[in-house]
């Protein structure tokens, strides 16, 4: 029933020392309560726990039962609240690409910390293996374990930068696997990565390229809600600057914008010197090597966010049997660029049996299980606006659907950032070479919804 471990001498001292301190009025807790990730499970959609990792003592995988119980209560998989309370632990759940990553903590902790670290773990998986499907994780489980071991110790994050990890544990590749088999070497480096403890922990030392290149992708996603009449309920831009750096040595870069005042909020990669941003509105940084997200920014509704596209719609359901759908997509402000990859999601009411819609352009498909119709429009020709129309069959006798569907809109506009953000110049200090520099702009729809 109970395995006791007797540490006679030691425990008595504990007892004595605590007796001692009850005498002094216990003055407590000036440092916060930090408790970190205790264990970690990966569960697939059919409810199998196929990987577990414990950073402290072992918690039996039965703990996941609480999660399965919660899962039963909700209709859709992704509706399980991200934090579940069990009698002794808390489960923190991250849902990504159809897998559930369940972190277990047993004490009060900052949940965002755990969520962030779990997302980071999945990011690293994707970085290493290309995706994070169950089969992929199983296929590379040795590397997965090595990674999990390297990323956290005792539940504290240890090395989470992809740059550092890749030096410690080589990502798998066919060639390396072959080489390992032949030479008997392994994919674990036995040398301590150089960058780990320098003042720029994100960058490894001794980087060398024959062609020095620096690329920036300015990507803006427009999140918007447009109401029935076509007026904008809310619109905001979520922007990112992703970079690819192939620069030798330790370059010190500074990037300036033409219009740096447009941001409502910014968040930076740790390499960016925040002081310089606050004083001069310029990004000054020593970049990590390879791919990374330099900054993300938010432009809120207070600024005018131009929408490149509009939708004219006429959707009606009648009691009894059928409904009519008529949707036209048109161009608004596109800064003279073509709008491409336009796609419209049309969720149909539950009582929908079938819908026969005919587009003037692109193709339409209807998924009878999820009841979502998808119209792949493609590129919009301003001369001849694409239109789709037709009828929807409902189960006869069913009530008229209470609400019309909310349309989801996808598109992309190349070579332009809708907010008008422009990179002015990139300067390099500390190294003598002149790198090749490139900036690309892209605007696409984020959560762009049109109510009908």
């Amino acid at each position: 029933m109970w395995r006791a471990e007797w540490m006679w001498r030691a425990e008595r001292q504990v007892a004595l020392s605590s007796l001692h301190c009850t005498n002094k009025k216990i003055q407590k807790a000036l440092i916060s309560r930090i408790a970190m990730l205790h264990s970690f499970f990966i569960v697939n959609a059919s409810g199998d726990v196929f990987l577990e990792k414990h950073w402290k003592s072992v918690i039996h995988r039965n703990i996941c039962e609480y999660f399965f119980e919660a899962q039963k209560k909700y209709r859709r998989l992704d509706e399980i609240p991200p934090i579940i309370h069990t009698p002794h632990h808390y489960l923190i759940i991250v849902h990504r690409s159809n897998l559930f990553y369940i972190g277990v903590v047993n004490k009060e902790c900052p949940p965002l910390f755990c969520i962030e670290i779990m997302h980071r773990i999945v990011d690293i998986f994707e970085d290493y293996f290309g995706d994070s499907k169950e089969a992929t994780i199983k296929e590379h489980f040795v590397v997965v374990y090595e990674l999990l071991d390297e990323m956290l110790d005792n539940g504290y994050p240890l090395a989470t930068e992809s740059n550092i990890l890749k030096e410690l544990i080589k990502p798998p590749s066919f060639l390396r696997a072959l080489q390992n088999t032949v030479t008997g070497s392994s994919n674990v480096s036995s040398i301590l990565p150089t960058g780990q403890l320098s003042n720029v922990p994100w960058r490894r030392a001794g980087v060398k390229y024959t062609n020095n290149e620096a690329y920036f992708d300015v990507i803006e996603e427009i999140d918007a809600i447009v109401d029935k009449s076509g007026s904008i309920v809310s619109a905001e831009i979520q922007g990112y600057i992703d970079s690819v750096m192939k620069l030798s040595g330790i370059p010190d870069l500074s990037l300036t914008f033409m219009n740096a005042r447009i941001f409502d909020d910014v968040s930076f990669h740790p390499c960016v010197r925040i002081k310089r941003w606050e004083s001069d509105r310029m990004l000054s940084f020593i970049p990590p090597d390879g791919h990374f997200r330099l900054m993300s920014y938010h432009i809120g509704s207070s600024n005018l966010v131009p929408l490149p596209i509009y939708i004219r719609h006429n959707i009606q359901f009648k009691t009894g049997a059928s409904g009519r759908v008529d949707i036209t997509v048109g161009l608004k402000q596109t800064m003279g660029r073509p709008v491409e990859d336009v796609k419209v999601d049309i969720p149909m009411p539950k009582s929908c049996i079938n819908c026969s819609l005919t587009p003037t352009q692109g193709k339409f498909s209807y998924d009878t299980v999820s009841k979502v119709g998808t119209w792949e429009v493609g590129r919009i020709d301003p001369q001849k606006l694409p239109n789709i129309r037709g009828t929807v069959q409902l189960i006869s006798g069913s009530d008229t659907p209470e609400s019309n569907p909310t349309l989801g809109l996808h598109f992309k506009v190349e070579q332009v950032a809708m907010s008008g953000l422009r990179v002015n110049r990139l300067d390099i200090l500390g190294e003598k070479y002149k790198p090749f520099k490139g900036v690309k702009y892209l605007t696409k729809a984020g959560l762009f919804q049109v109510r009908t």
Binding site: A4, Y74, E79, P81, I93, S190, M295
Partner: protein, 964 residues
């Protein structure tokens, strides 16, 4: 070339096969075999049988193989502690390896192996690693100290590792500092005394490291700084300036931790200063940005924003639009957003909000739609200018005839009527059209309330109510009560044509219902109406107080406390950290710092730690019944504080002698002891429980005799009979009679009887050890397993040694409360191991909960009131207490002697109400309401606490104390 192949083998002799492969000569083959073993481990197969073979592979230059073996070792060392020792040599050797990576790996893995023997060997390498030249090793070693402390705190302290860890706070490398902070934070949580002092120097050191360390380290440091209270405004401002750049960090956890620090420090600064205004402006954008992250992050952010909006509504007042719900948000995000939208609703944005809410009310998800409709009602109540628009929106929604929308709308319209009386009654006719569709009790009751309240304006009110009356018996209680009140109101307003109706409902309520509430209300109305209809009118149709504007806000002290915990689980659950039973180790309640009074004045901020101030703030806004009742008695001094009572006291303690004398004396003394004798004879049910049962009456009597002669706990009870009869005996603390915990059969001749008592503010275990063996016993010692209350022996067991055969000895063992807690089932279970020269004996006993009640358990009335309100009524449970005591003072004294303190007493209609507070060693407060029944011998005890698990034990304690 993939690793997936390792998962495939499931043949019969798998373990055997692996064993031979692990012992193969070929390096390559061994490595493959270890991988297979790990794969089996991953999917949950037991491969512990391979332990020695895997350990054999540990000596290798191949780092990958080494890591895999370590991984295996960590998982299985616990099951094979003796074999794990074999690994020690390799570890110690690796700790001297020239490669820092291997040094770090070794010390790290050793810390993860929770086997005592290995831990002993860990000390030397760890000490070396803490001073290693390579920061990578130092930072790993810092974490290892936390691991060691978790396994064996004394060892960690004795060996000076804590001091070494503190030294690392001044390390030149920021990463080492961050890990040292994290490790100290974790140690501090479990340690019984504070590990480091936060002071200006320390904070400065941490803030310097903040700029340079990793994002995770920043979280640790910010959480640490959040607990520091600066000495003055200038320092607070300085810290704010250094922390605020963190708001631009890409990591959401860093952002939220920074928000926490700033929210706390802003309390210290004058709220109208330019600095605070500018800072408030800086806070909004990062919070908004969190809402474009992954849904999980959004959820945590929204729960925290909910707190921030309640504390400082101005920060996000212009950001309404970001809380608009998107069609494909997960439901948990949608509901949170809705809640925040209502909190932010103001005359300036109400039009927009209403349009949105109306949109949501036509969505598919029923829960969400209901909440949206309710939200419209809340907007109407909150923003007066919008009431009209809200009402018309609700009417539109009612026109949709969607069943649940209509019902929800009617419920909220009732509230709107109460808030704005005589304004929107014109819509009643529309409401009445939907009478037939109502099937939920809430909606029905609301509708009936409306009809009753406005009976004079509804022509066919009598017909409508009569139609409800047809199915009276099948209705839910809520509807029945409402129907009764509604019809009485109708009668008072239109007495001429409703006499028959009111007669009917009164008959139904008083004669045909077995619901006491309904019956009582029926009788009250009946008597009122038959005595004086004018007075009845005054009572029933009295002007109602207006309902408050803000509903479901958090209670201010809780809100302040939660603001200190932004970004933690407490903030997600909106419960104080003390409610988390697992982490309840001597938690101090945090509160926002009071603003340091300065010359330029400003409003004094609210500080929860000064009860006087709190009382003032809490009392005026009482509205609950309990509050009203309690406040009647405010100002009068609470019950006597001393544990000696002067009044007439029934005998608190019965000695064996009384029982032997029999019933005659019992009748003299009063019912109390006859109850007791009944109890001791049979081991009465309610009080039985595992340990209390006892055998025959005689055994119990002997037990009593034994304890009264030797047990110091009964010293007070030994006063003569005469004294007892005259009731002048001092009221002593109740102690449970000794039970046989270990019988000689199981204890190899050792018999243990024991009980618990509370002496000198300490829990004491009273033991009677009897040697029933043929040889002497010596070398007694006692250990307690981890238990729910952290009880550990405060001193070694002091027993006459050797104990000759057939002799017994008394021992009393004071117990300490430590933070080392493991929840037991049942909660009061305590596992004891008693060692003597013959062997170690294990047994379990139950701790009577009253010994855990501490002496400073008297709660301030105001605090009591606030806490009572604050604790959800779900946590309230009622129990029956059987005792013959009926005098409130006597009960109060008796309870007080056992650290159950009377906060206040009230008498209403011959029934006495007592409000009691109890504080337990583990810092849990229990609030009790004891309803005394004058006639019957059973009282009703209602308990309220944040930790309902303990109720059973508390009730047992009450029962025991009052019966004794």
């Amino acid at each position: 070339m993939s690793d997936a192949k390792y998962f495939t083998t499931t043949k019969k002799g798998e373990i055997f096969e692996l064993k031979s492969e692990l012992n193969s000569d070929k390096k390559e083959k061994r490595r493959e075999a270890v991988k297979k073993v790990i794969a089996s481990m991953t999917v949950g197969k037991d491969v512990s049988a391979l332990f020695p073979d895997v350990i054999n592979c540990m000596q290798t230059d191949n780092l990958e193989l080494k890591k895999l073996v370590y991984l295996y070792l960590i998982n299985y060392a616990k099951t094979q502690p003796d074999l794990a020792i074999l690994a020690v040599n390799t570890f110690v050797k690796d700790c001297d390896d020239p490669n820092p990576l291997i040094r770090a790996l070794a010390v790290r893995t050793m810390g993860c192996i929770r086997v005592d023997k290995i831990t002993e060997y860990l000390c030397d390498p760890l000490r070396k690693c803490l001073k290693d030249e390579d920061p990578y090793v130092r930072k790993t070693a810092a974490v290892c100290v936390a691991k060691l402390y978790d396994i064996n705190p004394t060892l960690a302290e004795d060996q000076g590792f804590l001091d070494a860890l503190k030294d690392l706070l001044s390390d030149s490398n920021p990463m080492v500092v961050a890990n040292a902070v994290a490790a100290l934070g974790e140690i501090n949580e479990t340690s019984p005394h504070p590990i480091i002092d936060m002071n200006t120097v320390m904070v400065n050191k941490l803030l310097t490291a903040l700029n340079e360390c990793t994002e995770w380290g920043q979280v640790f440091i910010l959480d640490c700084v959040a607990n520091y209270s600066p000495t003055d405004e200038r320092e607070a401002q300085g810290i704010c300036e250094r922390v605020s750049p963190r708001l631009a960090h890409a990591n959401a956890a860093v952002v939220l931790s920074a928000v926490k620090v700033l929210m706390k420090l802003m309390e210290m600064l004058p709220s109208d200063s330019d600095f605070v205004v500018a800072l408030s402006k800086k806070l909004a954008p990062p919070l908004v940005t969190l809402l474009s992250a992954e849904p999980e992050i959004q959820y945590v952010a929204l729960r925290n924003i909910n707190l921030i909006v309640q504390k400082k509504p101005d920060i996000l007042q212009h950001e309404m639009k970001v809380f608009f719900v998107k069609y494909n948000d997960p439901i948990y995000v949608k509901l949170e957003k809705l809640d925040i939208m209502i909190r932010l609703a103001s005359p300036a944005n109400i039009a927009q909000v209403l349009a949105e809410l109306k949109e949501y009310a036509t969505e598919v998800d029923i829960d969400f739609v209901r909440k949206a409709v309710r939200a419209i009602g809340r907007c109407a109540i909150k923003v007066e200018q919008s009431a009209e628009r809200c009402v018309s929106t609700l009417l539109d929604l009612i026109q949709t005839k969607v069943n649940y929308v209509v019902q929800e709308a009617i419920v909220v319209i009732k509230d709107i009527f109460r808030k704005y009386p005589n304004k929107y009654e014109s819509i009643i006719s529309t409401l009445c059209e939907n009478l037939d569709t109502l099937d939920e009790p809430d909606a029905k009751a609301s509708m009936i309330w409306i009809i009753g309240e406005y009976a004079e304006r509804i022509e066919n009110a009598n017909e409508l109510l009569e139609s409800f009356l047809e199915g009276f018996a099948d209705e839910n209680t809520q509807v029945q009560l409402q129907l009764l009140t509604g019809i009485v109101k109708l009668f008072l307003k239109r007495p001429t044509d409703t006499q028959e109706l009111v007669q009917k409902v009164l008959t139904l309520a008083t004669q045909e219902s077995d619901n006491p509430d309904l019956r009582d209300r029926g009788y009250i109305y009946w008597r009122l109406l038959s005595t004086d209809p004018v007075i009845a009118k005054q009572v029933v149709l009295a002007e109602k107080p207006l309902i408050s504007e803000e509903t479901d806000c958090l209670e201010p002290t809780l809100l302040d406390e939660l603001c200190c915990h932004i970004g933690t689980l407490a903030s997600v659950y909106h419960k104080p950290p003390t409610a988390f039973i697992e982490g309840r180790t001597a938690v101090t309640r945090k509160s926002l710092p009071a603003r340091v009074p300065s010359l330029n004045g400003g409003s004094p901020s609210f500080d929860a730690s000064t009860p006087g101030q709190r009382q003032q703030t809490v009392i005026p806004n009482q509205d609950s019944l309990i509050g009203d009742l309690l406040s009647l008695d405010f100002g009068s001094p609470s019950g006597p504080q001393s544990s000696y009572a002067m009044g007439s006291m029934p005998p608190p303690m019965t000695t064996a002698g009384q029982d032997l004398l029999g019933a005659d004396l019992d009748s003299l003394i009063g019912g109390g002891s006859s109850d007791l004798s009944g109890h001791s004879a049979g081991g009465s049910g309610g009080y039985g429980g595992g340990g209390y049962g006892g055998g025959g009456g005689l055994a119990d009597l002997v037990g009593f005799g034994g304890s009264s002669s030797g047990g110091p706990s009964l010293a007070a009870g030994n006063t003569g009979l005469l004294g007892d009869i005259f009731g002048i005996a001092p009221v002593s603390a109740y102690s449970v009679p000794k039970q046989v915990w270990l019988n000689p059969g199981q204890g190899k001749g050792l018999e243990v009887q024991g009980s618990f008592s509370r002496k000198n503010r300490q829990v004491t275990m009273e033991l009677t050890l009897t040697n029933r063996a043929l040889q002497g016993m010596s070398d007694f010692d006692v250990r307690l397993n981890k238990n729910s209350f952290g009880l550990t022996p405060a001193s070694p067991l002091n027993v006459r040694s050797p104990l000759p055969p057939n002799q017994s000895t008394e021992a009393s063992l004071p117990l300490n409360i430590t933070a080392d807690i493991a929840k037991q089932n049942p909660l009061t279970n305590l596992q004891v191991a008693l060692k003597n020269n013959i062997g170690v004996h294990y047994f379990a006993c139950l701790i009577p909960m009253h010994v855990l009640f501490v002496e400073d358990g008297l709660m301030e009335k105001g605090v009591f009131l606030a806490t009572w309100k604050d604790i959800s009524s779900d946590n309230e449970k009622q129990f029956d207490i059987h005792t013959s005591l009926t005098d409130a003072d006597a009960i109060s004294n008796k309870l007080q002697a056992n650290n159950i303190f009377t906060v206040t007493k009230l008498a209403t209609d011959g029934r006495q109400l007592m409000y009691l507070s109890v504080k337990m060693t583990i810092g849990i407060w229990i609030l009790c309401e004891l309803k005394l029944n004058a006639i019957a011998s059973g009282h009703t005890l209602a308990l309220k606490s944040r930790v309902p698990d303990i109720y059973l034990g508390i009730v047992e304690a009450f029962q025991g104390i009052l019966l004794a």
